[in-house]
């Protein structure tokens, strides 16, 4: 049971990060129906900028928590600027173009950003300075670290803040109006360009924080770290229903849990030695080796995409339903 609890803790932490990144995808999609594939790279740049700042400050006598906060405070504006520039230079000119054009642009941007990061921060894996002393708490046999608690708490806070922004403020109302029908929203006096830019800014800021969290959680960063993380977060967004903000949160956490449980238990579930009675050769093998594992933990990364496929087949609009305006 403690193992199961531990896997749940692992999964929820991972899922919280996915959820925050997924919000960046889903907000942009909700408003302009664009899958911003470069969002994973924004997360990576956030981690890298924070790494540079934290490394520079780590030697000075500041308290570790303050150093990380300063690092985050630097990463957020850099990523927001990046998000704004992407929207302004790459996506806005293509807003009336066929849908495929901005999609390809997004993929191109993602490659450009990755390689820029490679030039600046080298292709090596960078070790994040381990300045925060990790406290380890034990709950019913499972352990949880202070960093994990901080990640989950931050993610919940950010999601709550976003929900408040979208449903309780004028900007949020404008965003929802633009999502439903940009033309009409424009006619009602909403400055669509500003609303869309704001969406990118908020998504990028969330991404930057997610990048810092991933960096401090795992202790490493590399210029390729954004691509798989981005794809998984995208899968989470689709899982919850793309364009749907609560959906991205639910999808992210669910995906994290599925991944942790999948990697943790698939080996045992597909251990053919449970069925050793069925075949003579199998029984012999099991007697000698005691295990015959069909799928091992190397399938960990596959679960996100298996779930994505299953959702697309069975419930194409996601668990909580797509929420985008009618436009054809």
């Amino acid at each position: 049971m403690d193992i199961f609890l531990q896997q749940m803790i692992n999964g929820v932490t991972l899922g919280a990060v996915y959820a925050v990144v997924a919000l960046g995808y889903t907000m942009v999609y909700g408003i302009i129906q664009l899958i911003n594939f470069a969002h994973g790279e924004v997360v990576m740049i956030g981690a890298m900028v924070a790494f540079t700042v934290i490394t520079a400050l780590a030697a000075g006598g500041m308290p570790p928590l303050a150093v990380v906060l300063v690092g985050t405070a630097c990463a957020v504006p850099v990523c927001m600027a990046l998000g704004y520039l992407m929207e302004r230079l790459a996506y806005r000119p293509l807003r009336r173009a066929p849908r495929l054009a901005p999609l390809i642009t997004a993929i191109g941007l993602s490659i450009i950003l990755q390689h820029l990061a490679m030039l600046v921060w080298t292709r090596n894996v960078i070790a994040f300075p381990q300045i925060i002393q990790t406290e380890i708490y034990t709950v019913a046999g499972a352990t949880i670290t202070s960093v994990q608690l901080a990640i989950v708490a931050l993610c919940v806070a950010m999601m709550a803040g976003l929900a408040w922004l979208v449903y309780r403020t004028r900007l949020g109302t404008a965003m929802r109006a633009t999502a439903q029908n940009p033309q009409v929203a424009g006619l009602m006096g909403v400055n669509i360009d500003r609303v869309i830019a704001a969406t990118f800014l908020i998504g990028a800021a969330l991404g930057a924080v997610a990048g810092v969290m991933v960096g401090t959680y795992y202790g490493v960063a590399q210029y390729t770290m954004g691509s798989l993380l981005g794809l998984k977060a995208f899968a989470a967004a689709v899982l919850g229903g793309i364009g749907n903000i609560p959906g991205a949160m639910v999808g992210g956490v669910l995906l994290g849990v599925v991944e942790a449980l999948g990697a943790g238990y698939i080996g045992e579930l597909t251990d053919l030695c449970h069925f050793a009675g069925l075949s003579q050769t199998l029984a012999e093998h099991c007697a000698a080796e005691s295990h015959f594992v069909l799928f091992g933990s190397n399938y960990q990364d596959v679960f996100a995409f298996l779930v994505l496929i299953a959702v697309l087949v069975l419930r194409p609009s996601g668990l909580l339903g797509e929420r985008v305006g009618d436009r054809s």
Binding site: I136, S297, Q300
Partner: protein, 427 residues
């Protein structure tokens, strides 16, 4: 820039080749000539990356070989009755397989008698084919990939251990000293990681130690928590991971965070000082292995000479390239010829004591009973704790003492007096 540099080196190579041609033609007609001191010029090449991320290691390798050549020149060796001058050709392969083959061809064209290098397995393997076709002996002091000597090339030798000797070494150390009952083996699904993990598993099973079903990540995995949590439930006494430090660091850190009490052990890919940065305090106590012996365990005479000549300590493989160059020279002396075809058989059956200990080659050209070193992380620094040699575990202190003791007769630029005596009966 690159163009002019290349052009320059090409011109230099051309001149060298032309000179070489002259140099080799001259002695033949002049052999009967009355001139008293006929002289012989022998070219020895060295290849390693002198630019890029591991340039410091390339330079270290080069210095080792350079020292051997300079010492041989000081010793005024006579080969075939002629005063011999060894000329050292240092080349840069940028750790790039393509450049490696180009540079190898360049050395072949310059008619070198033997080559020490290359540093990386990735450059050594493609280059070995070129040396083989030209029949030029090549000794690597640092390439550990088994494939290098598995190609059936008679000219290829190495003085350092192989990757597939490393797995058994760390596994037998683990089995002998920590006496685990249950071991978990994880790898990163690369050729290197899976290969070394397989060897470890084989050795452990042979020692009747239970091994859990293999867990796998990949070379980019940073989240090991699911796998580690699963392992925690099985409560293994030791964990072995075949992979690089970039993934091994997070593995170790997360393992300790989850409260996995097992001993963590790694191969040389994760046996670096980088581990402290990647895993922080969790790195303390890890066990890991490296091929060869640490430079501080090399012969003291070598270390002092190196320090005097280059004003720096040997970093990693310099003792091995030093031995490599000395082996070439020793074989030439034994054969009394710098003709690769003549001295190659001598090299193959050589029995030599170098800065890294006794060297003899097996049929494949690998060093017999090559040493492996087991390290442990102590206070953020890797410290050698044991040497594994021919399946035997020797405590590092004992090995270092033994290395220091017979230093006097060990290396020394191949004592000029007994050498001619040996040559005389053969001729």
């Amino acid at each position: 820039m690159i163009h002019s540099k290349r052009a320059l080196t090409l011109i230099a190579a051309a001149i060298a080749a032309a000179l070489a041609a002259c140099g080799e033609q001259k002695p033949a007609p002049k052999a009967e000539a009355p001139k008293a001191p006929p002289s012989l010029e022998i070219k020895i090449g060295h290849v390693g990356p002198l630019t890029g991320g591991i340039a410091h290691l390339g330079k270290d390798n080069e210095n080792g070989a350079r020292l051997a050549v300079e010492q041989a020149n000081e010793a005024k060796i006579k080969i075939d009755g002629k005063d011999t001058k060894f000329v050292f050709f240092a080349e840069d392969d940028q750790a790039d397989p393509k450049v490696g083959t180009t540079v190898a061809q360049k050395l072949v064209d310059a008619k070198v008698a033997g080559v020490v290098g290359h540093l990386n397995s990735g450059t050594s393997i493609p280059a070995s084919d070129i040396y083989n076709k030209a029949g030029i002996p090549v000794i690597s002091g640092s390439a550990t990939n088994p494939k290098l000597t598995e190609q059936g090339f008679k000219v290829q030798f190495r003085v350092v251990g192989r990757d597939d000797q490393q797995g058994p070494a760390i596994a037998s150390y683990l089995a002998a000293t920590r006496k685990p009952k249950l071991v978990a083996v994880i790898d990163d699904a690369t050729a290197y990681g899976e290969g070394i993990a397989n060897e470890v598993e084989k050795t452990l099973k042979a020692a009747h130690i239970k091994v859990l079903p293999r867990e796998k990540g990949n070379d980019k995995t940073t989240d090991w928590k699911a796998i580690l949590t699963k392992l925690k439930g099985k409560n293994p006494d030791a964990v072995f991971y075949g992979g690089m430090d970039a993934t091994g660091g997070p593995l170790l850190k997360q393992g300790r965070e989850l409260g996995v009490k097992a001993v963590f052990s790694f191969g040389d890919g994760a046996c670096t000082d980088e581990m402290t940065k990647l895993a922080g305090a969790a790195a303390d106590g890890l066990l890991c292995s490296q091929a060869g012996i640490p430079p501080q365990a090399a012969d003291k005479k070598f270390t002092e000479a190196y320090k005097k000549r280059f004003n720096a300590d040997p970093i990693l493989y310099a003792p091995f390239t030093y031995d490599g160059a000395n082996l070439l020279i020793e074989a030439m002396k034994k054969a009394n010829s710098a003709d690769p075809a003549k001295y190659l058989p001598e090299l193959a059956k050589i029995d030599f004591t170098g800065a890294t200990g006794k060297i003899a080659f097996d049929a494949k050209g690998d060093r017999k009973d090559a040493e492996m070193t087991i390290f442990t992380m102590k206070g953020g620094k890797l410290a050698p704790i044991a040497i594994i040699k021919g399946g035997q575990t020797i405590a590092y202190e004992d090995f270092a003492k033994a290395a220091a003791a017979p230093a006097a007769p060990a290396v020394a630029p191949a004592a000029p007096t007994p050498a001619p005596a040996k040559e005389a009966p053969k001729k």
